[in-house]
Symmetry: C2
Subunit: 215 residues, 2 copies
Amino acid sequence: MYAQASAKIELSSYPPHQSPAPVFEGATTQPVSFFPAGAEIYAQGEKAGALYQVEFGAVRIYRLLADGRRQISAFHLAGETFGFEADTTHHFFAEAINATGVRVFRTPSGMDMSRQLLPLALKGLTRAQEHLLVLGRQNAIERVAAFLVEMSERQGGLRQVELPMSRIDIGDYLGLTIETVSRVFTRLKEKGVIRLLSLRSIEILKRDALLAMGE
Amino acid sequence: MYAQASAKIELSSYPPHQSPAPVFEGATTQPVSFFPAGAEIYAQGEKAGALYQVEFGAVRIYRLLADGRRQISAFHLAGETFGFEADTTHHFFAEAINATGVRVFRTPSGMDMSRQLLPLALKGLTRAQEHLLVLGRQNAIERVAAFLVEMSERQGGLRQVELPMSRIDIGDYLGLTIETVSRVFTRLKEKGVIRLLSLRSIEILKRDALLAMGE
DNA sequence: CGTGGTGTTGATTACTTTCAAGATGTGTGG
DNA sequence: CCACACATCTTGAAAGTAATCAACACCACG
């Protein structure tokens, strides 16, 4: 199983545009933990304290309503860090979307990580606030367009974009149903804006059109 | 004009449950700046660098789409701090909602404020992510209920809640139109959940019902 | 080569927005 | 202190968008 994981590292971990993962000074570095698709990394209510860095694969961060409605607040791809919280408790769930390797940094209590964490927290804050604009004020096609642009940019701005997550995940990230996401993909395909290479891989044919839609 | 401002301080600045405003170590404290209703505190694209603390009044943080659609990502009430950014540029607009006093802290370049800023950034991040759940997955009545609960809790959990902002602001915060906000207020009134003391002041009659709606 | 999970498409329903008119409130000047 | 005027808020009717319900297609896995 671990051999499979290492193979994946070669294949799809750090994209060329991205610098290798920084290491956290002062933190105890642990070996890479492997999570199969759908596995929980931490749960809401659990005690927080560690930092997590995606080595390969992808992670979804989400919250649930009592009746099961789910909102994914963020996806984290290879090289990105997550898991820091305002207090000692996790306010969200974190799950591996696919087979995922995560490096865990345990921060010794008393150690001050604020200098390293602040830029990450601020980046996350800006991203969340931009996402608020999408959910609050954009319609279905604009939301999907914004999502595709975001994923493209996070993968180096290439024409070909990998979508490691399912349509359900995309819907729960954009505040839409799976059916609506699917219909929008079809409309974008018909308009010649994108092309589906496979279910989880699209090619952007008209970047300008996509940018104009997502603002 | 400034006399009027000081009068307001007595009236409505720090609620009893809230500790007095902390001061930022190492930052240059400036006198309180006064902003009349609707005045811009900073604009998107401007150079950032200062921290702002609300002395009295209220502030809205928002972003605009090209066609004028607006999403308010946060309201800041007396005692709260805003204005920190991931890079040196403001990504949002900040405006006074009412006559507002703001204390500006200029941080000397080279000074490391991360230890003081990280808790604020993390708090903001958690709040933004919770807001994502509301915008992405809750309907109009649930959104308004969640908003009223949030405002109540931020004002000490009292029955009477002051809403310093207009219906338009509430709509742009919740991703709804002003008409929908108004209709929901009416429905909550008819159900006996709230009572309107005035346009900008409500009384919560059935807190449990409100909590159940907003989750 | 089935089989269950995931995705697509169609028809209908439900909710929110839009458009429109009227009511209420606030601030100003007489 | 009252009256007018403008802004804000409320309410109603019609339209539009996304959700829901349902059936089928596709893909990956054992």
